[in-house]
């Protein structure tokens, strides 16, 4: 599969992320966009979708997928996203924040109204809603508490984050445990995507509060 497929799909993911950010009146930075898409990727299985085969890897500022930044840059160039701000971080790097441009809203509307993207839209909505409650500014800390990343981070940069592998410490494993627990609580009402996402974020929040330390930039 050529990289064009990855970047094109990431354009869709970025539009959903920017759409959720706009609803929360947030202009996400490039790192926050990476983190948002990562969270929708790892939780995608909850609504029956899978993260891309060539997805995030461990890197300097946590999970990173270069296709996402390439997608954001292309969308900004093509007039669908807008660079809302740019500044130098204390470490001297250039930080950028993004927002939807007007044509981008049209594009997002087309994606949202097509059945093929219903699951992605649903997942982005669930993650967006969780972040509205917990605060977008906590997104980096929440991702640093995500089980797959916690387990893979010590192996260094460039390691693939296999969030879908249910036989190792991963988001999939955690979701499976949640489903089992939900099944024991009520056999009539199996765990809904909303219930799992809510519990998953509650776990990330608790973990981040007790053990969380990113030591990374947020810009």
């Amino acid at each position: 599969m050529h990289t064009g497929v990855n970047v094109m799909n990431r354009m869709g993911d970025v539009m959903f992320a920017l759409g959720e950010a706009a609803q929360a009146k947030v202009r996400p930075t490039k790192i926050q966009l990476q983190k948002f898409v990562y969270l929708t990727d790892v939780l995608g299985q909850v609504v029956g979708s899978l993260k891309p085969r060539e997805g995030h890897k461990t890197y300097r500022n946590g999970p990173y997928d270069p296709a996402i930044q390439n997608a954001v840059d292309a969308l900004a160039f093509r007039g669908l996203a807008r660079v809302a701000g740019a500044w130098r971080t204390p470490s001297g790097h250039l930080a950028t924040s993004y927002t939807l441009a007007e044509p981008g809203r049209e594009f997002l509307q087309k994606l949202r109204s097509h059945s093929a993207f219903a699951r992605k839209a649903q997942m982005a909505g669930l993650v967006g809603s969780a972040l509205c409650d917990l605060g977008w500014d906590r997104i980096v800390r929440l991702v640093y508490a995500e089980p797959t990343f916690v387990a893979t981070r010590p192996t260094g940069w460039g390691s693939r984050l296999a969030a879908e592998d249910g036989l190792t410490v991963s988001a999939a494993f955690m979701v499976a445990v949640m489903r089992r627990v939900a099944g024991t609580l009520s056999t009539e009402h199996p765990a809904s995507p909303e219930w799992i996402t809510d519990r998953f974020f509650a776990y990330l929040n608790d973990y981040a509060r007790h053990y969380g330390s990113t030591g990374e930039a947020t810009g």
Partner: protein
Amino acid sequence: MEREFRENRARLKLLDSKKRHIHVALGKAENELATLLEYDQEETDEETEGVQEVGTQAQEERLPGLVAQLNEVGRKRADAERRGRGATADLSRVSAMLERLREEVETAEAGLVANFLAETEREQNLALAKLVQSTICPACGQKHADLADRARKFLRDHRCVLCGSEEPHEANPELDKQRGKLEECLREQQAFEEVVRLARAESEGLRDQELDLQTRVNEIRYSRSVVAMVERNLPEMTAENLKKLKQQLADEEADAEAQMGVIRAKLAGDYEDFRNKMDARMDRLRAAYAGYATAFLGLPCELDEVGQNGLLELKLFVPRFDNAVRPQAEACSEAQRFFLDIAFRMALIDVACGEQGTGTFICETPETALDFSYVSNVVAMFGSFAKKRHNILLSANIQNSGIAEKLIARIAKKDRTKHIVNLLELGRLSAVQQAARKEFKKIIRRMMTARVAKN
């Protein structure tokens, strides 16, 4: 892993000892009944024997129950392992199918995104659509017919209108169907994973239980002397009883032998695995050391091992270069000692960090031990370490064409300040250093502005 290995060794030792006792008793029972009567007579404590006997009898009564439990647990463990293997095979099959579907769905979705994107660009008259429709360059805003012709040709071939890279384009009418299949596969995969997880947890728990029961059975079986048991029964011994006893002893010996065989095979496997891993680690250490040491010396240098003639049979690592092993420090020059030691430390960091990990090496650079000709080699050595994404913190004196200057020259000019802590600015300078301040500044300026050297 080590604890398990030691426990297994202890079990093997116990079984071996008991088996030898049984074997001796068996031989004696067969050949010379009378010698059993004399055996161990003097060491028997009459007072405690009665108490022990009651305890032993009670334990013996529990033995059949324990053996039955052991068999049951073994059967359940084998069953759980069989289920786990079956589910793993199913999981592999489903995962392969899922991968294929995933690729198809990803490609189809990318095609849809590309179509919506192009549609939006046309409707909103965005820059790339203007290039195709109105021949306006998206970069300079001027009309450019050639550029537009090329863009139209790319568009017809389903390529990026600017660079001509292949783009996903076709909306797949089967996408909903494929998505449905993918979801079904995903559910199957999750179900098999659940079975594998449960089977693994169950078999691990049962294996622990089995080992515990086996230990208890062995403790009872071998809790008293084999010979004492024979002694006690002797007054009532008939030929039939003696045959039974002999058969019982033979069965126990065979059972101990079988258990020992299993433990021996596991220990041999574990040890082989350990040796292989150690060998692989040593090979990595040798290769890493050879790389660094050779970079420094400029001629092949490898690690060799020599005995140390001490109390322990530990070998020492020493360098070998110029066809000579250098077992003593005096066999190397001062500079070679310093820098081959650094090479060894960096090789250890490499091995400890594995394939992807990174480490940090803090080093007081003994550059005064070097003559000019070796400076570039040292820089190459440190450079190859840093290239593996390790961090390296070196202290260096300011010298004309010194290590610091050559190392800094390998960094992009704009990034150089980020890599340096200038202690001449932060520390308290001696009177001599104060006097040479101008010279220092001149050398530092040259270092910071020098052309980037090739790595």
